[in-house]
């Protein structure tokens, strides 16, 4: 079954019920405080499991003229209703051992009364009760569909609790909290449904009926405190005792325990009738407990947090949907599919790929080309097609996105009439193990088909990098002789902040320089986070790894002759402001818990590590640079520590990956102890290092490197 059905139901259910659920959650938050405050009151008796009924009844009998009822409620308040020696009747909280009054009965605070009423019936009496029960059930279904979505997303039930990739705050915590609160919310919703079923008498009827033979006069007279049944029963098992109404022998003690009801003869103390409560009643008791948290501070807090979580789900869920909707629009076609020569097909789960498709679509239109854009699943015969461009993301474990799930089968079924040249662009993230897998599958499949021929090899784009996409377009233009001027779709720009330039070094021989920036507002960040700069000139976002030095941001930049952003930075003067934004990058933070860390960087990738050197963790630093001169500008930051440098253009002409090869023992012990290796710099260097690591791990630890990658022991930030 495709994911879309689950997502669709998840969303539809949420839309149809969110107002009610929101109300229930807010009132639920208020109500969660009731059992907590009750538990903190002084009349809660802590040791009810050590006091027998006989003890309590004995002391009450002594203290008062007559006892009418004794009750133990869910808060462990013991209530006695008595007629005092002066003939006045009174009901109060009582000390079960002394029989003395502790406090008069407290009525429910009006805020709780109000909230309870709203929570269970919306002030609509029976109609309201029905609605609340119904929406409780819908919330249960939302929880179930949500769990299925998590399972699909993580790639199987077993992976339910594996690491979630953090792409977006809302999405990330929607999933994370969804897992943590799955069980409490299922319990809340099911007990809620059960309680409303009970109110509507929809559960099997099970009234307890006492049948007993009337015992004729007995001579046996025991004092109440000597009744065996009372001596054996603890106060914690008791719900209530009603004393015999009169002195007639047919009036019994009516004892309600948590699991049964007893009639006890008022003189002999014998049990005249003993009726077990039905499972319906016992389930009701449990439902009440689980739903209200009464009597348990711990569970009340769980319920309280669940209510907050539900509110967060409503917020984040709708925010995710709106984001997705905004991005998912395909541009309107100007040409019919059988007229167009250029066909763009899109596969996307979250919608970000559509923005790229739109850019391409408009660029082709501008060149007066007949172009047609559609979802991959709508693949059909295109009579005039000459060029096919496929832009696709990958979902989960290398699967197709929802709108592309049938494409591979369709490729076999649909027979195109003419020969078509194609190019496939995969969009994804290195953070996933199956980077661009679906694009790879499509590319392989197309290669098998006769009337398709590639004009470019498969292009892969990491994290929606528009620059990469432009590079692909340049190659494509070269092949087709069609110039493409791609404009990045204007997303609502994220809020930018000002950063003051404190210092900037001159260019070194490698055309690199360091720039030190100071946030003009107080900001929380750490080394490894990213500074996002979006120059106005092209509106394309660039990310630079931050080294945090004394609360300033240190960036190491390589200036390219035509680089818009690197030139922008290079041309800044001291005291000038730069507008940019800090983007958290948790996957590349220095691991606080590690005892020993290996840092490997080349070129400008050194920057984040310069900010990570001030700590107590044993840190091994390996740097790769071109020449001794390249090292100069970093030296002021490296004077306190030991490090190894490989110069690629001087002396032994070594690469940093070669240094790693010599450190077999160190690498193996660090990984074996669960500590981390961090790599920052060029992708070529990263691949070289990973290759060497793979060999070391295979020979020393007999484990595949993937294992360490998966559990986050190998952290990379490469470009």
């Amino acid at each position: 079954m495709t994911i879309s059905i689950w997502r669709y139901s998840h969303l539809t259910l949420a839309i149809s019920s969110f107002i009610f659920i929101c109300l229930a959650a807010i009132t639920g938050i208020i109500l969660a405080f009731e059992p907590i405050s009750n538990q903190l009151k002084p009349y809660a008796i802590r040791n009810t499991n050590q006091i027998t009924i006989a003890e309590t009844l004995g002391s009450l009998k002594k203290e008062y003229k007559e006892v009418v009822t004794v009750k133990v409620d869910q808060n462990n308040f013991v209530t006695a209703s008595v007629i005092k020696k002066d003939g006045k009747s009174e009901t109060f909280y009582v000390n079960p051992t002394t029989g003395k009054k502790i406090h008069s009965i407290q009525t429910k605070a009006s805020i709780y009364k109000f909230a309870t009423n709203l929570h269970r019936s919306l002030f609509l009496k029976s109609t309201g009760r029905f609605l609340v029960g119904f929406f409780s059930f819908l919330l249960f279904l939302i929880t179930v569909t949500g769990s299925i979505l998590i399972i699909k997303r993580q790639g199987g039930i077993i992976q339910f609790f594996t690491k979630v990739v953090n792409e977006d705050f809302k999405q990330f915590y929607h999933v994370i909290l969804g897992r943590y609160f799955l069980i409490p919310i299922v319990l809340i919703t099911l007990t809620g449904v059960y309680l409303s079923l009970e109110k509507f008498s929809l559960l099997p009827k099970t009234k307890v009926k006492h049948q007993y033979d009337f015992v004729s006069k007995t001579d046996k007279k025991l004092a109440i405190k000597n009744f065996p049944v009372f001596k054996q029963t603890k106060l914690s098992d008791l719900k209530s005792i009603e004393f015999p109404f009169s002195e007639d022998e047919e009036d019994y003690f009516f004892v309600k325990l948590h699991n049964k009801e007893l009639l006890v003869h008022q003189y002999s103390g014998e049990i005249a009738s003993n009726q077990q409560l039905s499972w319906v009643k016992i389930l009701s008791e449990w439902s009440l407990f689980l739903h209200t948290g009464r009597g348990s501070i711990f569970w009340s807090i769980v319920l309280l947090l669940s209510c907050f979580a539900i509110l967060f789900f409503i917020y984040s869920g709708f925010a995710i949907t709106l984001d997705r909707k905004k991005k998912s629009k395909l541009p309107k076609n100007k040409f019919k599919k059988d007229i167009a020569e250029f066909i763009i097909l899109v596969g996307s789960e979250s919608g970000s790929t559509f923005g790229f498709a739109k850019s391409l679509f408009e660029a082709l239109l501008q060149e007066n080309k007949t172009v047609y854009v559609d979802h991959l699943n709508n693949y059909t015969i295109y009579k005039n097609a000459k060029q096919l461009i496929i832009l696709t993301a990958t979902y989960g474990e290398g699967e197709a996105p929802t709108n592309a799930s049938k494409f591979l089968q369709l490729l076999d079924l649909v027979q195109q009439n003419n020969n078509i040249k194609y190019s496939v662009v995969g969009l994804g993230s290195y953070a996933y193990p199956h980077f661009c897998q679906f694009a790879i599958d499509i590319d392989n499949k197309l290669q098998e088909l006769n009337n398709f021929s590639p004009i470019l090899s498969l292009a892969k784009i990491n994290n929606q990098n528009f620059g990469d996409f432009k590079n692909w377009a340049i190659q494509w233009s070269e092949q087709t002789q069609i110039p493409l001027e791609l404009k990045q779709q204007e997303f609502k720009p994220k809020k930018q902040y000002n950063f003051k330039v404190l210092d900037k070094t001159e260019l070194n021989n490698d055309d690199s320089f360091l720039i030190r920036l100071q946030p003009t507002k107080k900001m929380k960040f750490q080394s490894g986070d990213l500074l996002s700069i979006t120059p106005k000139k092209d509106n394309i976002e660039r990310l630079y790894s931050i080294g945090k030095i004394e609360n300033d941001i240190l960036l190491s930049i390589k200036k390219h002759d035509v680089g818009i952003c690197s030139n922008l930075l290079y041309n800044l003067t001291t005291e000038e402001n730069l507008s940019a934004r800090i983007q958290q990058n948790k996957s590349f933070h220095f691991p606080k818990k590690s005892k020993e860390v290996i840092l490997i960087a080349n070129g400008t990738g050194i920057a984040p590590f310069l900010g990570m050197l001030e700590n107590k963790t044993k840190t091994h630093v390996f740097l790769g640079l071109r020449t001794q001169h390249s090292l100069e500008m970093y030296k002021p930051y490296l004077n306190k520590i030991n490090y190894k440098v490989a110069f690629s253009q001087e002396g032994e002409k070594k690469y940093v990956q070669d240094c790693i090869q010599e450190e077999q023992k160190l690498v193996a012990s660090v990984l074996k102890n669960g500590d981390a290796i961090m790599i920052c710099g060029s992708v070529a260097m990263m691949n070289g290092v990973l290759n060497n690591l793979e060999k070391i791990v295979a020979s020393e630890l007999k484990t595949p490197l993937q294992k360490f990658k998966n559990n986050g022991q190998i952290k990379t930030d490469c470009y």
């Binding site: 007559e66 007629i83 003939g87 009364k113």
Partner: protein
């Protein structure tokens, strides 16, 4: 002379009090096995003309529902006497409740009546679920109900 008058007055006052003395009765309400919410039951004293004289006990402590007990509300809603001391919880189907009510002795055998009216949320309202004349015989007995109440029993203290 003044002293004698004072003593005489005092004696008179004491006598006046002895005349309006009242007795406490233990009263048990046993409900039928109906389904639904707990019942509100109001016990009132009616004068020989059948008019409300006094509220004796209210089972059910949420004032929001009092107007459902229509007849009594016409009386109590206007007077709003303080009934905090004679208020208990609602009684669920099949359960029973015991309360202590106080009836002035001079109302016994004088044509006064006692009325138990009952109402359950979203169900019927019985204006005279149990109603009987206050005779010295009745206040020791057991009387069957017509609505939610199975029977009531009373005994003087």
């Amino acid at each position: 002379m003044k002293k004698i008058t004072a003593i005489f007055l005092l004696a008179l006052i004491t006598m006046a009090f002895t005349i309006t003395e009242s007795t406490k009765y233990k009263c048990m309400i046993q409900m039928k096995n109906y389904d639904g919410e707990g019942a509100y039951v109001v016990i009132s004293l009616l004068n020989p003309e059948g008019k409300y004289e006094k509220t004796l006990y209210v089972q059910g402590d949420d004032e929001d529902w009092y107007h459902d007990i229509t007849e009594w509300w016409n009386f109590h809603g206007k007077v709003r006497s303080d009934i905090d001391a004679i208020t208990g919880a609602t009684i669920s189907g099949g359960n029973r409740a015991i309360s202590v009510i106080e009836i002035p002795n001079d109302k016994i055998d004088q044509g006064y009546k006692i009325r138990f009216e009952s109402a359950v949320e979203d169900q019927e309202y019985y204006k005279d679920d149990v109603e009987f004349e206050l005779t010295s015989e009745n206040v020791k007995g057991k009387i069957e109900g017509k609505g939610f109440i199975r029977y009531i029993r009373m005994i003087p203290q």
